[in-house]
């Protein structure tokens, strides 16, 4: 087993965008020649967050909203692992919003793939932080009364060095984004638009299909102002691709003993080393 990526039978609904996201993820990992045991997928709870069960890599399927903290712990403990966070829009931008914001501040080397179906799938159709104002849901029966959150604009404001948007219906393009995000040294956010065939009757496959367009070749992804304009473009037309990408020092690089030393997990433990600390108490 496990020197190739095996796929397990998911419990996702037929036609769910999650299938395409998984296909793209498998292709990205294979094309990057990364072996399954070198990858950890960390997730929260939700339909998207079931990903570690359906592809044979190391997995940490934790709590709803709490995928980023363990991902940080894992990467700090073993810098050799490729750490990928896979979680829903509710998981990431709602319950886990604080970790999302502060995770960006750290700029730790993880790739974050948010399956953004603009709805709470697993809990049957309530509004998520990215559901449009006024949209009727199973809970907001007379329409959503709060403004949606713009994750890409927020990430840019917080200083994220890699901000991208993908679409589950465009696999080759998504594979490219995922590869770039995994290779990127630092925190890489890919917000992936994904239809929910059961609970979101507004943002359907064709709703997205008719709106998304590739950022042109000429687009300069190092220009933050341009990136912000593109992040705010979410209406009749929705740009997909890398909106912003610059090199930045990562969290790991700020710890000399990690940057220059072995992964923490390989450091020998020797209690006697600490004995000298008693001197200051004498």
């Amino acid at each position: 087993m496990a020197d190739r990526y095996e796929l397990h039978e998911p419990s996702w609904c037929p036609g769910c965008g999650n299938y395409m996201i998984r296909t793209a993820l498998k292709m990205a990992l294979e094309e990057l020649n990364i072996k399954p045991h070198e990858v950890v997928i960390v997730s929260g709870i939700g339909q998207a967050a079931k990903m570690p069960h359906y592809i044979s890599v190391n997995g940490f399927n934790g709590l709803h909203g709490r995928a980023i903290p363990p991902a940080i712990g894992i990467k700090m403990a073993n810098k050799d692992l490729h750490v990928i966070v896979e979680s829903g829009d509710g998981d990431t931008y709602g319950e886990g919003g604080n970790h999302f914001i502060h995770g960006i501040r750290r700029n730790i080397d993880i790739a974050h793939f948010v399956h953004n179906n603009q709805i709470y799938g697993l809990t049957k159709g309530q509004a998520s932080p990215t559901t449009a104002m006024g949209q009727i849901t199973t809970l907001q029966f007379d329409g959503v009364k709060v403004e949606p959150l713009n994750p890409l604009a927020l990430a840019l404001t917080m200083g994220a060095g890699f901000v991208a948007r993908g679409f589950s219906g465009d696999i080759p393009h998504l594979v490219g984004l995922m590869k770039e995000a995994i290779k990127y040294k630092g925190y890489a956010l890919v917000d992936i638009l994904q239809p929910c065939v059961v609970w979101n009757r507004v943002n359907t496959f064709s709703w997205y299909k008719n709106r998304v367009y590739h950022l042109p070749e000429s687009y300069d992804y190092t220009n933050k102002e341009e990136a912000m304009k593109k992040a705010l473009e979410f209406g009749d037309r929705i740009p997909i691709g890398i909106l912003y990408k610059v090199e930045k020092e990562t969290y790991l690089d700020r710890f000399d003993f990690i940057k220059e030393g072995p992964p923490l997990v390989d450091v020998e433990l020797n209690p006697l080393d600490a004995e000298r600390l008693m001197e200051e108490f004498r």
Partner: protein
């Protein structure tokens, strides 16, 4: 000989420095020290004080009465005057409470001004008081040289010398060999964690637990430890679990309110079976409560926190030495059983400074129980007789992956809704708890083997109770105390044994609802006859425990 000193004043008046210099100088004379710091939750003003007790004997708590009061302001005189023994003295600068002729006024500020440094006023006082106890000036000078950088050390040394001229020696200490360390509870826990090979500590500042975070942070680079000041305590435990899953020893800590935020992740630790060590340095609640004061009211909370049923271990720390060794032990137990081990301290222990024998690092064993020769498909939750599954580190074995899951899962870690597997997994996790029961340490036993009066207590009340019980033993009272450290699983052997002949069980706790007593009722089916409870946020003095036991026996 057994003396106590209180130095009191406003926050920002330099009491901390005075106290640490005084404690160290006394320790260097070969004496034992026990010091408790009583401070308010503010940065300036208010009233703070240190109560520093010292003796040739092994003292473990503070006393009601004191021998010397060093008042840095008038308010301190009013607050502490009553505690001063008839043989004691009150010392203050001549500008403090001028009219009060019970005070021995000294020219502290005048001398400081003549040295052109207002800030050395306390050092003048230090000199005076150290001479009062006949501490050789070379010992005091050495302590000052260690504490301050060159120039500042110079002016402080002159202040010290001037101070020595102000008071005559009244109670000369006999200088003995000093082979001790002087450490507080937070430092002891942090040192234990470093010795145990903790490589990841994350936390969010919260008094009185911040000292652990601070100490580890200070040595983090030297010992390859990642210290992360997290965005909130929710992140803290989740992050520590990630680090531990990836193979390093990880710990987090907070006080009650922060621990409350960790509760969901504690339950996660239970089901994913990832080892972790956590400390709750208790302060009085509910909610924000008394941020800088002491209480033992989180016992039930620590035992029960977390939804669902899963094994955990709860260990209450009794003194600084215990804090060190139990922290080391916590890591070994967490990694043996793949469970969360919860340490409980409190402000009294955390900030209390004690002299102890240097800790023994040579005998520390690090037991990790990690397998490396597993091939192919790996069952994270393999059903074994003991309930403990083999553990491997993700990424270390080619062709093998590790899946942990907060959903109920099968042996591979995959989500399941099977009734049969669910039952097996619950049983598996709880089998570890049964095994853990064999691991628990019986409480410390002080006093008679067949006592008429049996005192029960836990954690940091140890010192005050031990001294009180020993005093009663000396008076011929038939008495013993059991001081619980391991609290969950709850050890009952000694308790059942000693209670057999006891006519009275007396429960001593720093809370209002007698939580240990309720635990004893539940697990040992015994109930205490008397409860000595204190929940005013101040630690028991040994005199108070003595008095209140005496009232009921």
């Amino acid at each position: 000989m057994d003396y106590s000193l209180i130095v009191g004043g406003e926050a920002g008046q330099g009491m901390d420095t005075f106290a640490s210099l005084f404690e160290k100088a006394i320790k260097r004379c070969g004496y034992n020290v026990y010091a408790y710091s009583d401070y308010m939750s503010r940065i300036r003003g208010g009233h703070n004080f240190f109560n520093i007790r010292f003796s040739k004997d092994n003292i473990l708590a503070i006393k009601d009465r004191i021998d010397i009061l060093f008042a840095l302001n008038e308010e301190s005189v009013g607050i502490h005057k009553e505690k001063v023994k008839e043989t004691g003295i009150i010392i203050a600068d001549e500008k403090v409470a001028k009219e009060d002729n019970s005070i021995t006024h000294l020219k502290l500020s005048e001398i400081a001004s003549s040295l052109k440094n207002k800030r050395v006023e306390n050092t003048v006082g230090l000199g005076a008081i150290l001479n009062y106890f006949g501490v050789p000036i070379h010992i005091a000078s050495q302590v000052i040289r260690e504490e301050f950088k060159e120039e500042i050390a110079e002016v402080n040394l002159r202040a010290l010398e001037e101070g020595y001229k102000l008071l005559d020696t009244r109670y000369p200490l006999q200088i003995r060999e000093d082979d001790k360390i002087l450490i507080n509870g937070n430092e002891a826990v942090a040192l234990g964690a470093i010795a145990a090979g903790c490589k990841f500590y994350c936390g969010y500042p919260m008094t009185p637990s911040t000292g652990v975070l601070n100490y580890i942070a200070r040595y983090a680079n030297e010992f390859n430890i990642v210290v992360d000041q997290v965005e909130d305590e929710v992140a803290a435990l989740n992050m520590a679990l990630g680090a531990s899953y990836a193979g390093v020893r990880a710990m987090t800590g907070s006080s009650g309110g922060g621990f409350a935020l960790m509760v969901e992740a504690l339950s996660l630790a239970g089901i994913i079976e990832v080892p972790v060590v956590l400390i709750n340095v208790q302060r009085p609640g509910p909610a924000t409560g008394f941020p800088t004061r002491t209480e033992q009211a989180d016992l039930r909370f620590m035992i029960h926190a977390g939804h669902g049923e899963f094994p955990r271990m709860v260990i209450a720390l009794r003194d600084t030495e215990d804090a060190f060794y139990q922290t080391v032990r916590a890591f070994n137990i967490a990694e043996k059983y793949h469970i969360p081990v919860l340490l409980m301290s409190d402000q009294h222990l955390a900030d209390g400074v004690t002299t102890k024998k240097p800790f023994n690092f040579k005998d520390i064993k690090i037991e990790r129980h990690i397998e490396s020769n597993i091939k192919g498909e790996f069952k994270t939750y393999e059903l074994t007789e003991s309930g403990i599954s083999p553990r491997i580190i993700p990424g270390k074995i080619e062709g093998t992956t590790v899946l942990v899951d907060s959903d109920e899962h099968d042996e591979y870690g995959h989500i399941t809704e099977s009734a049969e597997i669910r039952t097996k997994m619950v049983d598996k996790r709880l089998r570890k708890f049964e095994l853990l029961k064999e691991e628990v340490q019986e409480p410390w036993h002080i006093g008679d083997q067949e006592p008429e009066n049996l005192v029960v207590c836990w954690g940091s009340t140890y010192g005050a109770v031990k001294e009180a019980v020993e005093k009663l033993l000396n008076e011929g009272v038939s008495i013993a105390a059991l001081v619980f450290g391991d609290i969950w699983p709850f050890p009952t052997n000694k308790l059942l044994n000693l209670s057999r002949k006891a006519k009275k069980i007396i429960d001593v706790e720093q809370n209002a609802m007698a939580q240990l007593d309720s635990l004893i009722r539940e697990v040992a089916l015994l109930k205490s006859d008397h409860k000595i409870l204190k929940y005013d946020g101040r630690p028991f003095t040994t005199d108070e425990v003595y008095r209140r036991i005496k009232e009921v026996i």
